[in-house]
Symmetry: C2
């Protein structure tokens, strides 16, 4: 019987940083308190990284101060390219750092054992242990928001490669449109929430708050919305077909803001994948269960795993 | 200290079946004797599968009879879609079977413990333990012959999914040519040894023995050969870029007949991959070390692993 651990989990996002006081085991966790604040930015990437370490420290102190009993460890996850093994934030396009030794800096600041990881993989870990991918051995957990990336569950373990695995947003699916990464035809360039909103506005001149508005327009039969949506669904289906061909997962779990579109997204995506696939096993398409808490819960699991490690 | 085991390994191919008497441990094996014979074919897929079981039985009996000391297990690997966990040959386009329970039938025929697996994954296991991917944790071992498939080493383990993982020959890289699998744009349709030979002959009217002749023509500056070769290299580079984007492997090991072209293949492939990649880590491109023995050595390793399992 594992004993219940109390940890603080922090999910540093491009805009907002979420933190939680979490109690639980490697198979079951409960968030007892939450904090949110804007992710700090400073003059350059290194200064931003140091400011992030400071902000994480304040959040951990605050939640530890509010806790009933001692906090045993912290779990901290970051966006961008993260090398978990070396404890390094390799690169963040959004926040600007390169090769910043977060794990060491955080240990120094927090005075606690620190588990350090990647936001998308941590979210995937949470969906795998606690959410929509529970009980599977091979699954892809794909949040779709400003960008698109995936956590790969391979043989029951999260795969990180050298820190860059799972960049399904940047596989070429043939539509030819340029992407911010320098390639053309990337899934993300037409299928991220940001791309869907932008392409709808470019087409119609009508501003929208986000892809959720475009999904609403799809449901009311707006022809422009249908076109933009169809392009997004086609790109996602082609990306998932590549993943199915290479990795043969049992299921794909869709998360992030775009997954809030529910069946408006899932039904045409299933249908398009069925049209495109020939010999491949069609992975089951599921919706994420943990919403935007997944990263934080995953960070908590990383911290608990660290404590349970023999 | 592991003790040395003596096993018989059989690699059933679409045309030829190779067998070997092998002695060794999970980290080092030596083939003591070899046998080869044509893979039998019968009226339908099920009859062929039964004939294959019979032929494997004869090869194992013969090599066990020639052995000095007892044979402790057999390792048998097959082409097509193979579900190692269930012990089933799910599908072979070439040999025709569907859902044939090979592992059970072989155990009945051989009267020995039987390890059962997939030819490409077994070859990848051999290159990973004994050959060009030794010491890595994340690698792709890709034999290029009549078709193209890959063994995926992910976090130090061979990944099979539901038996269909690694079908890199059938990802769409955008060239638009039809493939035998029913899709278009597959890597295999322009870059397999068979496709290279066929496309060269279609272009020039000149018959060739295989891709090795086309590689020779490339080295002597034949313009048609250069065009066909460039198409193949481009498709392979695009396929490897997809793998790099999704799995971030340390290295790709090229095997099969096409790898005999050596630097004629590797040098332009490295260059094309460098041109196409943006943020991705470029995997090291290596040549396989075990040649067409890889499948048989991998089958031997599977048998030894079975004996060593606690």
């Amino acid at each position: 019987m594992e004993r219940t651990r109390q940890v603080v989990a922090v999910d540093v996002g491009g805009t907002e940083t979420k933190a939680a006081l979490v109690a639980g085991t490697a198979r079951s966790v409960t968030a007892l308190a939450h904090r949110r604040r804007r992710t700090p930015r400073a003059g350059d990437g290194e200064a931003t990284a140091k400011a992030v370490v400071g902000a994480v420290g304040e959040l951990v102190d605050e939640l530890a101060g509010a806790a009933d009993g001692p906090v045993e460890a912290a779990g901290v996850v970051l966006p961008g390219v993260v090398d978990d093994r070396r404890g390094v934030g390799v690169f963040s396009a959004n926040l600007g750092w390169r090769e910043f030794p977060f794990a060491g800096e955080l240990r120094g600041r927090l005075g606690l054992p620190v588990a350090f990881g990647h936001d998308v993989r941590a979210g995937g870990l949470a969906e795998y242990r606690l959410g929509a991918a529970r009980g599977l051995t091979d699954a892809v957990v794909m949040p779709i928001g400003t960008g698109i990336a995936a956590a790969l569950v391979v043989g029951g373990r999260l795969h990180s490669g050298g820190g860059r695995a799972g960049e399904i947003g940047h596989v070429d699916v043939g539509h030819g449109e340029p992407c911010g990464c320098g390639q053309r035809g990337c899934v993300e360039a037409v299928a991220s929430s940001a791309a869907i909103a932008r392409r709808y506005t470019e087409r119609t001149g009508r501003p929208v708050r986000g892809a959720v508005d475009v999904a609403g327009a799809v449901r009311s039969g707006d022809a422009d919305a249908l076109t933009v949506w169809r392009d997004a669904v086609d790109a996602l289906a082609r990306g998932l077909l590549l993943v199915a061909t290479l990795l043969d997962p049992q299921a794909v779990v869709l998360g992030g803001g775009l997954a809030l579109a529910g069946e408006t997204l899932v039904a045409p995506l299933r249908a398009r994948l069925d049209e495109l696939a020939t010999f491949q096993r069609r992975p089951e398409i599921r919706l994420a269960e943990l919403g935007d808490e997944a990263g934080c819960l995953g960070a908590a699991l990383l911290a608990i795993d660290l404590l349970e490690r023999p």
